[in-house]
């Protein structure tokens, strides 16, 4: 039904298209008879007419402009500011994705050491699907908690084990996805907070190494930094990196939650000369990594490859994957058991994970979400009787203490987060990570934008974030009546019948 005041945009645009040249003529006449100054308008309308002719007759990529001309630009302009308008004006505090304003505010407050007490009540919908933590009638006094400590590689009895004393690891983000200031701020922050940082699959970790923090070198499917020309592993180069004193561990990336079954992607907008050199690739095209390691064709060769990397590098070696099918995960564990070869840890990345760039459908539709995947993985390891042969790490939107507790209860030994740390650096969730236009200078190589990111101030934010998370986790663990994170288990969770992990709970 048409209301009386509705405007017929079709008629309006025809009117505009007709009147642009007519106005140009009118102003020309005015310039002729009244004052030459009218020719400023003559020229403007001549140009507008020319632009309109181009839209209407000379281009065919945009149907709307072809049909309606200049006026249709209004739609594109409005559409282009839509995300900002929604984010600032119209979206409620619990509505935005991937992280709503409440979740982000918690990270910002922790990073800036601002008290994060909230008032009046929860803003969540208390529906039948939310997991909750069961507290105890008799909480542990926080002074009696056992200090956290996790030693990678102890199961294999190797010499160079690596111990972490806070349950946090900065998850893989490559130099390439991140700009150099962001990498250095994170690395310096990791050093200040005494946590370990993953380099991501960006090749030789030049900027990560600068700050002297403990590092996990990530071996991506394209093996940037340690590849032969044909994309296979170059053992000497890997050995060279593994021998550096601050490289404490190596992570073999099998897949990533945001794009499981597809290799990494670095858009050409973001490839500088330096990145091309550190990775050994061309600047002219997007860099697309293969979906899997050419050495890993089946369970047997995958296990052998892990062994091979463990032999080359005399340090702990783990794997990272997003689970597609738990049955395949179980088969993999069986093969590990059969060959008696285990990675020193497994990182389970949930399909809700983040990325610098990936196709929409992979981000949205591929892979198991973290909580059920983590539960399934932990159960599979327990059933096979090998849970004590390795550590289990988890990542996937674990940016606040509440959700991190869920992961600990489901079996995680430590937490990896990428976007939590990006937020602590001041990420405003502008979702520009792939376009080199990150407004806060995190995922960009544009010197003007990177200029805004002060390394030492942001490093301190990273430290504060970690310390405040640790503080909250200690209080939560104490509330459950446990002594340490190790004591947390599935029975500390209240699991409603319709939650995402219910199908994986026996007798449910």
């Amino acid at each position: 039904m048409k209301s009386k005041i509705s405007i017929d945009l079709h008629k309006l645009s025809r009117f505009v298209n007709l009147f642009l040249p007519i106005l140009a003529i009118i102003f020309f006449l005015a310039g002729l008879k009244l004052s030459f100054y009218y020719h400023f308008l003559t020229v403007s309308f001549l140009f507008a007419t020319a632009l309109n002719v181009f839209y209407l007759y000379l281009q065919n990529g945009h149907a709307l402009l072809r049909n309606f001309g200049l006026l249709a630009q209004g739609r594109y302009m409005l559409e282009s500011v839509g995300p900002e308008l929604r984010q600032y004006l119209y979206a409620s505090d619990t509505e935005e994705k991937p992280f709503n304003r409440l979740e982000r505010a918690e990270v910002y407050r922790k990073s800036q050491n601002i008290d994060s007490a909230s008032s009046f009540g929860s803003l969540h919908t208390f529906d039948a699907t939310e997991l909750k933590i069961r507290h105890s009638l008799f909480p542990t006094p926080t002074s009696e908690l056992t200090p956290y400590s996790l030693t990678f590689g102890e199961e294999r009895g190797i010499e160079n084990t690596h111990t972490i004393r806070k349950p946090y690891i900065i998850s893989a983000m490559s130099y390439g996805a991140l700009g150099k200031n962001a990498v250095r701020a994170l690395a310096r922050g990791a050093k200040l907070a005494d946590i370990t940082m993953n380099t991501g699959e960006g090749g030789y970790p030049k900027y990560h190494l600068m700050e002297g923090c403990d590092l996990i070198f990530q071996l991506g499917t394209a093996k940037f930094g340690v590849r032969n020309k044909d994309g296979t592993l170059n053992e000497e180069k890997l050995k060279e990196i593994a021998d550096k004193p601050t490289i404490k561990m190596i992570e073999i990336k099998l897949s990533q939650g945001a794009k499981p079954g597809k290799g990494g992607l670095l858009p050409k907008e973001k490839i500088s000369d330096e990145i091309a050199e550190l990775r050994g690739v061309s600047k002219e095209h997007d860099v697309v990594s293969p979906a899997f390691h050419s050495e890993c064709k089946d369970y047997t060769s995958l296990t052998q490859f892990i062994k091979r990397v463990q032999n080359i590098a005399n340090i702990p070696v783990g794997i990272k994957l997003c689970i597609g099918d738990l049955a395949q995960f179980e088969n993999m564990i069986q093969e590990f058991k059969k060959q008696d070869i285990f990675p020193d840890w497994i990182t389970i990345d949930g399909s809700e994970g983040g990325t610098g760039a990936a196709p929409r459908a992979f981000i949205d539709r591929v892979g198991m979400p973290l909580l059920p995947a983590l539960k399934g993985a932990n159960d599979a390891l327990n059933e096979a009787g090998v849970r004590n042969r390795l550590k289990l790490l988890a990542s996937g939107k674990l940016i606040g203490p509440g959700r991190q507790m869920l992961a600990f209860c489901l079996g995680a030994d430590a937490i990896c987060s990428a976007r939590g740390f990006m937020l602590s650096l001041g990420c405003i969730q502008a979702i520009q990570c792939g376009s080199n236009a990150c407004p806060v200078g995190i995922t960009t190589h544009d010197p003007k934008l990177e200029h805004g990111l002060d390394i030492s101030i942001k490093a301190a934010r990273v430290r504060n974030y970690v310390n405040n998370l640790k503080h909250d986790i200690d209080e939560l663990v104490a509330a459950t009546g446990c002594q340490s994170i190790n004591d947390l288990s599935f029975k500390h969770l209240y699991v409603p019948a319709d939650s995402s992990i219910s199908p994986h709970v026996p007798n449910n």
Partner: protein, 135 residues
């Protein structure tokens, strides 16, 4: 943009800047011939206003981020100048020379705009090879 295209563009940018720039001294010092011209088309202070705009066009044409804006402004000013010659000033003698210089500048600015069409707001979105979303 290929290197050749880039060089061509810069050559025409410089041509436009030189032609517009060398008239600025006459405009700002209020040289009698210049004043006469602006008097004739009845633009008091026209020499200052147009002079300032031409100076702006020259500066924009020389700064890498703003070349297309400079070229657009330059093209607009020259279109105005040509309208002046057609309607009131005519092409006799020195006037003809000035008119031809205006045409040369207009052509240069248009060449620059054509070469750099992928930088022009309102047009660049349509010309980029793929409009597929990339994230």
């Amino acid at each position: 943009m290929t290197k050749a295209a880039k060089t061509t563009s810069w050559v025409f940018q410089i041509i436009a800047v030189i032609i517009m720039g060398q008239t600025l001294a006459f405009k700002f010092s209020g040289h009698p011939t210049t004043l006469a011209i602006f008097e004739e088309i009845n633009m008091p202070y026209g020499h200052i206003i147009i002079g300032v705009l031409e100076l702006a066009a020259c500066i924009l044409l020389l700064m890498p981020q703003s070349i297309v804006y400079g070229a657009t402004l330059g093209a607009g000013l020259m279109t105005g100048a040509i309208i002046g010659h057609i309607t009131e000033l005519g092409w006799e003698g020195e006037r003809g020379q000035l008119g031809l210089l205006a045409i040369a500048t207009l052509v240069s600015c248009n060449i620059v705009l054509f070469i750099r069409r992928k930088d022009i707001p309102l047009i660049k979105g349509i010309l980029s090879e793929s409009n597929l979303p990339k994230d």
